[in-house]
Symmetry: C2
Subunit: 206 residues, 2 copies
């Protein structure tokens, strides 16, 4: 079946839009999706950035929050700005969420868990770095304790590092990104283009 | 009449797409456009960038050229990558073109001149910094010699500096950008959103 890889980072605002939209859009076009959590931190560090570019370049940050409000409204998705002055956190640390996502995506509850994490973060403004919230979301999505434990095994930690290395080798520099065949698409605004590219791809292509 | 301001820089690849598309899209929605050339250089310098981010962050640059190929194809616009290995120039110096554009936009030939410059740069791969090419394009668009001379007056130079200062005060950080009322939209992918926002704006709004 034709398919597109969805590369996302839990700290990324625009990845929230794509996580909520992708499977509906892809399904409507008969395209399967593979979800690939990774970490932007190592990539940003290679650019000399110690935090999100939306923090470093204040104008880009101010624009992003307003743009996110408009895009979320357009898609009918709840959204709130993360307001550091009121104790909310941005960018958030998505490492634990990404480890759980990797475990969940090997099982049945991965996508529901990812969407629940994004909802907690960007619809409810919660801190998604803590295990209490994450474990509750994982259990609600269908995880059992063995799977939750497996998310924090050395094997899963290594798998997340390997997935981030793979992202770098593919030339990824931001999230969300989509890969269909040899084509890279960056940004929630390219979601439809990526799905349609996958749909129209020559079946003999990679 | 409802209208949108179009802020563009002649060195910007995505501004080429918007310059070629904007007036058709806006016209179809009954929205007028005001074209505002400005310089990204001073803004990029304030970010600590001495050249285009597509040069500084190589992965972003590689992606941009491929994305531009796809977007240009989607819109039926001719496009070629500027290949420095073959002596082509990127990013290009658009200062002289912006001065002529300011002069032309006060007259009748501004938009045709802007589109001709972008075509020379991104469809033909030519260097748009030189006066010989620019004067020929201005004349072909309808400029007379007095108008061309006026483009290099102290008054026009000051006007371009003032326009760039205005861009900074509006929070612009890239090109193309669109402003409708108090809303800023960044990127060719937001062109339609900006036009539709302008169309649906309360007539009593700013």
């Amino acid at each position: 079946m034709k398919h597109v890889d969805f590369w996302f980072e839990f700290g990324s605002t625009y990845s929230y839009l794509s996580a909520m939209r992708l499977d509906a859009v892809a399904g409507a076009h008969g395209v399967a999706t593979t979800w690939k959590p990774f970490l932007l931190g190592p990539i940003f560090k290679s650019f000399g950035w110690e935090t999100s570019p939306f923090e470093i370049y204040k104008q880009k940050g101010a624009y992003m929050w307003r743009d996110m409000e408009r895009r979320a409204a357009k898609y009918g998705l709840p959204f709130q700005r993360l307001d550091k002055a009121s104790g909310q956190i941005f960018p958030q640390n998505g490492v634990a969420a990404a480890r759980l996502a990797l475990a969940g995506l090997k099982s049945t509850w991965g996508k529901d868990f990812c969407r629940a994490v994004y909802h907690a973060e960007f619809a409810e403004g919660r801190d998604i770095s803590g295990q209490e919230l994450l474990f509750a979301l994982a259990r609600a999505a269908g995880a059992d304790q063995n799977e939750i434990d497996a998310a924090f095994s050395d094997e899963t930690k290594a798998a997340l590092r390997a997935q981030t290395e793979r992202a770098i080798s593919l030339g990824l520099f931001g999230a969300p990104s989509f890969v269909a065949g040899d084509e890279l698409f960056w940004g929630d605004d390219r979601l439809e283009d990526a799905v349609i590219f996958a749909k129209e791809m020559d079946p003999a292509a990679p």
